[in-house]
């Protein structure tokens, strides 16, 4: 392009922008617009370097036009009219549609493909797109939220999602191992609240990252996955040792968790490679039966030991978790069924059993009719009892 064309081109760009969003651009105020006033001539005659401006921050708050009105040519004015017609008012939208050609909508799809096809990067081994299409999608969303803001609601979502995935991956011991770590850490953070240290959150995020890697990395072998899990267990153990679980001010159960949590991974050797690490894991007494159970392939291989360790992890109902759950209950008490409610449920069950046994010797039609009648009666009575209980609870408050 020649200089003159460039000049008119830039003018056209500016005018187009002015016209597109005219209503958003306040009138030019010279005192607020040092750059545009001085740059206008340059814009027309020469091409200013983008970073040449040393316009002070906030000075643009006056929203200057890039070219003062008096410098605009009739050509620009014509363009402005045209684009005011295009983008200015709704009743002129038809001309906009005529002028605006179809944009390259394929670009979005192209970059989506590019993102999906991108080779794994060290700091993000998995392609984001694979997460979007995996069961981890919701979990990832929760972890993203946790990165920025941690509150009860999001931690509750985390627990629900962990439980959901835990069921989904029944039988997959490695994934369930990660999920249990996440659940424990989530509960800990929830119980500790503002007293939670950053390391706990970092560990939570780190465990999730590894879970994500394990889930989406198709090329990863089971042994590698187990190795990663054991690495996380090691980190968890280190965290347990460093973290002051014993003195939560308002969540006493977490302190009780310390003694229970520590022995589980407390003797994991520091420097052993993943393949050997599992063999050295010592389990608490409750776990010994599982951990030391003879295996058909128990030829002292590390992999066997790893498997044993995983089984131990998955079978162990961490007492610490239970204590934390208790702490959670204290911090966020859930409505407990009242004795009256339990009695009502028990009575209901009993009545249903009685009806069922009384129907055994009746013809089908008669049995059905009678069953319907009895059940209607029972439901009505129970509903009435529940309403009464609700009324009593309300009046008690």
């Amino acid at each position: 392009m020649k200089t003159k064309e460039e000049s008119s081109f830039l003018q056209g760009v500016e005018s187009r922008l002015d016209s597109l969003f005219a209503e958003d651009t306040p009138p030019v105020r010279e005192k607020d617009a040092p750059l545009p006033q001085t740059a206008a001539a340059d814009i027309r005659e020469d091409i200013p370097a983008p970073q040449d401006s040393d316009e002070p921050a906030g000075s643009a708050a006056g929203a200057p036009n890039l070219i003062p009105p008096e410098d605009k040519s009739s050509f620009i004015a014509e363009i402005e009219k045209r684009f005011s017609a295009i983008f200015g008012e709704d009743d002129k939208a038809s001309s906009a549609l005529q002028a605006a050609e179809n944009p390259d909508e394929g670009a979005a799809a192209a970059i989506a493909e590019e993102v999906a096809a991108a080779p794994p990067v060290k700091d993000q081994p998995s392609a984001p797109s694979s997460i979007l299409h995996s069961p981890l999608k919701d979990m990832k969303s929760i972890m993203l939220s946790i990165e920025w803001e941690i509150n009860d609601a999001i931690l509750e979502q985390l627990e629900e999602e962990v439980n959901k995935l835990y069921l989904l991956y029944t039988g997959n011991r490695v994934l369930q191992g990660f999920l249990r770590l996440l659940r424990f850490l989530g509960r800990y953070i929830r119980v500790k609240g503002v007293q939670t240290n950053q390391e706990s959150i970092n560990l939570l995020l780190s465990v999730y990252d590894n879970l994500e890697n394990v889930m989406v990395s198709e090329a990863m072998t089971e042994a590698q996955k187990q190795g990663i899990l054991l690495d996380n267990i090691k980190k968890y153990r280190n965290w347990v040792e460093k973290t002051d679980l014993s003195e939560p001010e308002e969540a006493a159960p977490a302190s009780a968790a310390a003694d229970d949590a520590k022995p589980f991974f407390s003797e994991l050797p520091e420097q052993l490679p993943p393949a050997q690490r599992g063999a050295a894991i010592q389990f608490p007494e409750a776990m010994r039966g599982v951990a030391e159970e003879p295996s058909a392939a128990a030829g002292a291989s590390g992999i066997v030991a790893e498997k044993t360790a995983d089984e131990a992890l998955l079978r162990l109902e961490l007492p610490a978790e239970e204590r934390l759950e208790a702490g959670l209950q204290e911090a966020h008490p859930r409505p407990e069924p009242s004795a009256a409610g339990e009695a009502a449920i028990s009575r209901f069950d009993q009545q249903v059993q009685e009806v069922a046994s009384s129907l055994k010797n009746l013809p089908p039609d008669e049995a059905f009719a009678r069953a319907a009648f009895e059940l209607k009666h029972i439901f009505g009575a129970e509903l009435q009892a529940l309403k009464e209980e609700i009324r009593v609870l309300k009046s008690a408050r």
């Binding site: 597109l20 370097a49 969303s141």
Partner: protein, 207 residues
């Protein structure tokens, strides 16, 4: 042909890519949504956005913006955002590929100060991967969320933000509130203008 925007001199098509960059939750997507909302009725284009449950950008937002013919050239602008979270650096790198201009959206909230600094450094690093210099690429800085002060939330003063982010770069900077639309369009106009200026400058340097 310059290595920046897609320019087809034969067909007279110029396509520039502008990326909104910044830390997570600084308002990049809100910027694009406002822009889209302003002209969606007139521009035959859709904004593509991928959000997560927590309303966060997971991949990017994309809004192709057709400016029509200018001086015989069909000018197309593509606006992108990047995910701001630290862990999505590879996605940010991909979105930055072929970028022609950058709007750095900084969060004015006091507690986001460090994240702004980390993010601008990250931008510099990632641009370097594409042999681009943050001091040379068209860059406009937007100090977003100025409206937080109205809600009694402590915000950084502009001088502090300037010192943190723009002391060396000396890029044009705007105070803005993307949720209110304040200076969103001005930021856009500025970056488009600078991008086009840069483009012409480079075209001039072509033999």
């Amino acid at each position: 042909m310059v290595g920046l925007a897609f320019i087809n001199l034969k067909d007279k098509v110029i396509q520039a890519k502008i990326v909104y960059y910044g830390p997570g939750r600084c308002g990049k997507t809100t910027n694009l949504e406002y822009i889209y909302d302003k002209c969606r009725l007139q521009v035959n284009s859709e904004m593509v956005t991928v959000k997560t449950q927590g309303d966060r950008t997971l991949f990017f937002d994309f809004f192709p913006f057709d400016m029509g013919k200018i001086s015989g050239y069909d000018v197309k602008i593509q606006l992108y955002t990047v995910p701001g979270q630290v862990k999505y650096n590879s996605t940010r790198r991909l979105v930055l590929k072929g970028v022609d201009g950058v709007v750095f959206v900084a969060d004015s909230a006091v507690e986001r100060r460090n994240k702004n600094i980390i993010s601008i450094r990250n931008l510099e690093e990632n641009l370097t991967l594409y042999n681009k210099n943050i001091r040379e690429i068209p860059l406009v800085i937007q100090y977003n969320k100025r409206d937080l002060a109205k809600q009694g939330i402590e915000i950084l003063d502009v001088e502090t933000l300037e010192n943190d982010i723009n002391a060396e770069l000396k890029a044009p900077a705007f105070e803005a509130s993307a949720v209110e639309g304040h200076n969103v369009i001005l930021t856009l106009k500025k970056i488009i203008y600078y991008t086009m200026s840069s483009l012409e400058k480079q075209l001039k340097q072509e033999p």
